[in-house]
Amino acid sequence: MTPFTLTDTPSGQPGETLLAGGTTLIDLMKLGTLTPTRLIDLTQRRDELSGIHEDGPNLFIGALTTMADMADHSLIAARYPLVRSALLQSASPQIRNMATIGGNLLQRTRCSYFRDPASPCNKRHPGSGCGAMGGDARGLAILGTSAFCIANYPGDLAVALLAVDADVEIETPAGTHRSIPLAELHRLPGPSPEIETTLTPGEIITAITLPVGDHRRSAYLKIRDRASYAFALASAAVTLTLAPDGTVNRCAIALGGLATKPWRATAAEQWLMGRCIDEGTALNTGQLAVEGAVATPDQDFKIALGARTVARAILNAAEGKLEH
């Protein structure tokens, strides 16, 4: 790793980055992908910024809460089972003991051209080009891409949180606070893929809040090359409620693995509303969820895979089955 100063006081200078669990940052620093000169040790604020508690009907999760602690929490299991399922299908037990919720939301793409400092990458080095286009794009995005970047957002937790309408609490360098829907945290790459979030320099995610909701019919389905310890080729978070006549009266569908940021499939949701769930309506919803996908030949299979993943997740959710 290139040298850096470890401190607990942000200076707001360029070259500064936050250290929480370190499971993304230290990996990328060892590769030379990221070369910060100052690391702000957020773990010094662990007592203040971790923990889960009720906030009226809502649930408040401190951003330094570990993935393991959040997955194990009784209120997460009881009220947001798809979020627990997403967490437990992520990473490994060791990583989940180290990684924090805030850090997990901000994880970087696994695109090998981003990770390799010798490759052209507009995200890592603006203007240098994109090695993935015309290269190995199999695991990369088919939704939300631009002419500058096709890197996918690899995480699971953000996808499940998007489906439950989570909010993100942010502390500014001036010490004030603001709150945004999670849907407004991540940005599309557009012409500036190096800017991944709407956070301004020096801002810290301090917590997420989960609004009360009925998630008894929900699922997080993760499809990947291995049965464990692998990122998603395609994933779907679904939560829905049924009216007494069996028609859908509320639904949220979010996709992972396939898009440049956690992806809410609103057109698909709107189509499913008022309909009964069967294999036909589930698959049609899935196809709507991936409409507009742009795929290279080696990504082509992911259009059908994405549609079927959504369909299977809808069927599982309707039955009250959490996974596959």
């Binding site: 370190g22 230290i26 773990t43 490994s92 060791q94």
Partner: protein, 151 residues
């Protein structure tokens, strides 16, 4: 920067480069070479140690920010020198070939049992998925863990 690490019950006051990982400090500064460097990127689990009883990857942990008490493979034998029951089980079930992943497997397995995640083969398959074994000793590793969990 000066920092104190507590390893296997003993305090070590060290002057560290901020870039020093816990893994490198254990192996190169403290001569505790039982913990292995497999991938150095948090993907194989060979570097697994316990921090306040929880399994972590020492290759991704900066030594200067490590605050919990660390247990390594050297620290699980009893004060009389008796092997830990998990070590006995690994030997009984021939749960290793080259042995390189084994210290990480054993510490991860001890935590897996403490977490109550070793109640079935399927459970163990899932909850030990962060420890890779290129010799494919997995069936015997699972048998060893089931055995140790039941005693």
């Amino acid at each position: 920067m000066d920092h104190t690490l507590c390893i296997n019950g003993a305090d070590h006051s060290l002057t560290l480069d901020p870039r020093d990982t816990l893994l490198d400090v254990l192996r190169d500064r403290l001569n505790l070479t039982g913990t292995k460097k497999g991938c150095d990127h948090g993907q194989c689990g060979a570097c697994t140690v316990l921090s306040d009883g929880k399994r972590i990857l020492s290759c991704l942990q900066l030594a200067a920010t490590q605050r919990g008490e660390i247990t390594t493979i050297e620290g699980i034998t009893s004060s009389d020198g008796d092997l830990h029951p998990m070590q006995v089980a690994f030997i009984r079930h021939d749960a290793l070939q080259c042995g390189y992943c084994t210290p990480g497997q054993i510490l991860s397995a001890i935590a897996c049992v403490t977490e109550c995640h070793a109640t079935s083969e399927d459970d163990i398959r899932t909850w030990m998925s962060g420890n890779l074994c290129r010799c494919a000793a997995y069936p015997n590793i699972r048998a060893a863990i089931l055995d140790a969990a039941s005693t």
